[in-house]
């Protein structure tokens, strides 16, 4: 349980390139990237496109993504919509409640940088990256479902290149 927690200390001593570590890396990365459970959580317009993506036409389940309602079970959180200042603290909290390793996809203009609301939005957080670290920015307002899938594939790409030895996992 929590192998990574324990491995972390041991693995530090290895240089990258060790054959065991590399193949281990491959397996662990592969498992992480092909079973990214998603937070069942929507904010605004983009949430509708997120729902459309998980519906039959685009089927997030193909990528091994199932929505889980509790932050304890999930690997990725899709920030799908405008983050207001009132909501920002809650998102930070959700993010804190998620177990490592965890990833964030910022979906749509609003969560990228405030989007259409960046100029006069007194209650809008201008970019969710001000409260939590974002891995992939998906542009669009709202992004097409395919665009979200493309963002997910980009995230998979990122996970694929992570390594235990480099201490990024």
């Amino acid at each position: 349980m929590g192998i990574l927690n324990k491995l972390d200390n041991t693995v530090e001593h290895f240089e990258s390139g060790n054959i065991i570590i590399t193949s281990m890396d491959k397996l662990l990365n592969w498992s992480r990237l092909s079973s990214m459970w998603q937070m069942f959580f929507g904010l605004a317009c983009c949430a509708i496109e997120m729902m459309a993506t998980s519906a039959s036409h685009y089927d997030l389940d193909r990528f091994g993504i199932i929505p889980r309602p509790s932050p304890r079970h999930v690997d990725i959180i899709l920030i799908s919509g405008t983050v207001t200042l009132k909501m920002a603290t809650r998102i930070k909290r959700l993010w804190d409640q998620m177990p490592e390793p965890k990833y964030v996809i910022s979906m749509g203009s609003c969560s990228n940088c405030g989007g259409p609301y960046w100029e006069h939005g007194y209650n809008v957080l201008k970019g969710v990256d001000r409260v939590i670290p974002v891995d992939v920015y998906v542009p669009g307002c709202p992004p097409r479902p395919e665009a979200l899938l493309e963002g997910l594939i980009k995230l998979q790409e990122k996970i694929r290149n992570q390594s235990l030895a480099k201490h990024t996992a």
Binding site: A44, A55, T84, R90, N123, R144
Partner: protein, 372 residues
């Protein structure tokens, strides 16, 4: 049992909760499983629409109205544009009006599909949700064909439309109507008339007529209470007076009038009526230019207008004050979900937690519309 001391439990539902349809927060006070008080906390999606509208020119506000109630962007655009046109006092070509009606009704179908689907999901049935989304995808395809966007269209402009419809759109829409009629029946069989679903929703959250009217509840929520009031009939805007359709009300087929099931089934019936309107409109659509009445500069004289329309969720009003400049002085959106939601405390007291979820779902709220 009398000496058994119980304590009330306060539960926080949301802003992150699977069934609050976004980021609504409900503070529930519970006695066991029985809800004694519901306190909605809004504003988690307050995106300052009204402030933005004051800083934009009139046409630039349209994309923001899209984002206000993102499930029925077309209706929002329509309401806003009607209000601006009223200020400008311009005549709209007939063809434009027809296309607007077609779009608004297609949007009504799409919006109701989401309402029905997510309501099924609230009840725990995931499959109807996906069936509804499959059908909605077809509507979105139509929209995408006409204006290039799937969700937020910026299609209805002051005085006209951004694009004319194509003959392909008309054939595709007719195909869709043919395809969609049996699908409504299927969803009804799968979900609406399912015994478990009826048990979950019938006789839950009764909203009496007088309370509904007094609290400003509108749309399917009001009609579920048996009030035959539809702005398309009562106060026809655009060209709704040309079409023949019925106003559906809750009849208490199961449960009593005004409960969740009746509120829900009104939506299923309304989709059928929307199909009827679309059919009539498609058959009699005149030729014309959709750009002919679009003003170069939208600069109304000082004054104010308030237009209410029947959006899929209810009475959607835009109150616009103009001071004669290019930007509106004040835009206030009378959002439907905002008024509908305000009765939740009154009607969910005494029910169970699971019922609160169902009651909330039966209002078909959209947080973008509530918080603006």
């Amino acid at each position: 049992m009398a000496e058994l001391r119980t304590e009330e439990l306060t539960i926080n539902m949301g802003p992150q909760h699977p069934s609050t349809h976004g980021v609504l927060r409900l503070v529930l006070t519970l006695n066991g499983e029985i809800v004694t008080n519901v306190k909605p906390v809004l504003g988690y999606l307050h995106r300052c629409f009204e402030k933005h509208a004051e800083a934009m020119t009139y046409p630039q506000v349209i994309p923001y109205t899209d984002r206000m109630d993102y499930l029925n962007s077309m209706s929002n655009e329509l309401a806003y544009v009607l209000a601006v046109e009223k200020l400008l006092g311009i005549e709209i070509p007939e063809r434009v009006e027809y296309i607007r009606v077609i779009m608004a009704e297609l949007q009504r179908i799409a919006s109701h599909l989401v309402a029905i689907g997510t309501y099924g999901n609230d009840a725990g049935a995931f499959t109807p949700f996906l069936y509804c989304f499959m059908d909605r995808e077809k509507v979105l395809e139509l929209f995408e064909m006409v204006c290039g966007a799937r969700l937020l269209y910026n299609y209805i402009w002051v005085g006209g439309l951004s694009h004319d419809i194509t003959p392909e759109f008309i054939t595709k829409t007719k195909e869709f109507i043919k395809y969609f009629r049996p699908r409504i029946k299927q969803v009804n069989n799968l979900l609406s008339y399912n015994k478990i679903f009826i048990e979950r929703t019938a006789n839950i959250g009764m909203l009496p007529q007088d309370v509904a009217v007094n609290a400003g509840v509108s749309g399917p929520t009001l009609r579920g209470s048996g009030v035959k009031y539809d702005l398309r009939k009562e106060d026809p805007y655009s060209i709704y007076n040309k079409f023949d359709f019925d106003v559906c009300v809750g009849t208490g087929e199961y449960g009593t009038v005004g409960d969740c099931w009746n509120r829900y089934i009104v939506r299923a019936y309304e989709m059928e009526q929307s199909l009827r309107i679309i059919e009539q409109a498609l058959d009699s659509i005149p030729e014309g230019d959709v750009h002919s009445a679009v003003p170069k500069r939208v600069k109304p004289v000082a004054g104010e207008s308030y237009v209410r329309t029947e959006s899929p969720k209810g009475e959607l009003g835009y109150y616009i004050i103009s001071d004669g400049s290019l930007n509106p002085y004040r835009v206030k959106a009378r959002s439907t979900s905002f008024c509908n939601l305000s009765v939740i405390n009154q009607i969910s007291r005494g029910h169970m937690i699971a019922d609160v979820v169902m009651i909330l779902g039966s209002f078909d709220i959209v947080l973008g519309c509530i918080d603006r």
